[in-house]
Symmetry: C2
Subunit: 171 residues, 2 copies
């Protein structure tokens, strides 16, 4: 069962999960007729261009980078009040080039309501987003401290700003 | 009196105010020994580079743009549960080049706790931020619909990512 929520209603919880353990970013992979999951720990939520926006970041080296460049849309599933340590680790450390992470995690892909990308059925909180703006990081613009801490190699992030087209709880 | 809060504790409310009426962005103006306030309606909050981040956007044409380029820090004050329609209009429509908006609004600048930029004493919710990353928009990367809706002229935004150094309620 779905319960629609305002896009910002669970912003506190979404940010808290992002910062503590991570959340799931799902992007479809048409070549393999499946979708791939990646754990993300960085992102922001808010309102830009008169649209509700969820911003996620993906490094060039990630399988998700190539997928997202083609797909132009993504879903975010958040394990609200669930212990998903193991699944978050699988989706953070392994690559969708090698394994099917839905299978590996025992997760079920469920059809998105607004877009053609599945959500993770087992998670309680979901966002469906279409990329409306994206921008590769300019390394020289980042503070030296953060550049040193977060980028040992030139594997920088691309910022993807997704318009939130659906946000809901799944029970 | 101050009450410290977790940076994301009032994310829902901050985003709701941003999208409905706006919030106050304050940047110091050393040349005039005062600070300037601007109303903003777009921005995001979250966690990036292992730091709590508040992202605000300022158009090139704004007085605040020049100030922020020099200051590298800003505060955000949010009129939680207050009707500040008039002050939001003053700070949104008038320019700090012409008037002192603290005076015009009857607002009191109060010393920041973590940075050298004042907050608006009369508001209940505050964030103090130091810019750790900034990036000018790449217009060609924005969806055509949003480019048409939001940018009639080439007066694009610069995105300022501020590390949240203090977040608190003021009673």
């Amino acid at each position: 069962m779905h319960k629609d929520i305002a896009y910002h209603e669970y912003a506190n919880e979404a940010i808290a999960h992002l910062a503590n353990g991570g959340i799931f970013l799902t992007v479809k992979d048409p070549d393999q007729d499946r979708a791939n999951i990646m754990t993300i720990g960085w992102g922001t939520i808010g309102y830009i261009w008169r649209k509700p926006i969820l911003m996620v970041m993906v490094r060039y080296s990630r399988h998700t980078y190539g997928l997202l460049e083609k797909a132009g849309e993504f879903t975010v599933s958040i394990p609200l009040h669930q212990d998903r340590t193991n699944e978050l680790m699988i989706c953070g450390r392994q690559s969708g080039r090698d394994i099917d992470k839905f299978k590996e995690c025992g997760f079920t892909p469920e059809k998105g309501r607004a877009i053609d990308t599945p959500i993770i059925k087992e998670c309680p909180l979901h966002f469906e987003c279409r990329v409306v703006y994206q921008q590769a990081m300019e390394p020289g613009q980042l503070s030296k401290e953060l550049r040193t801490n977060c980028y040992q190699t030139p594997d920088y992030h691309v910022l993807y700003f997704g318009e939130i087209l659906a946000s809901y709880l799944r029970k």
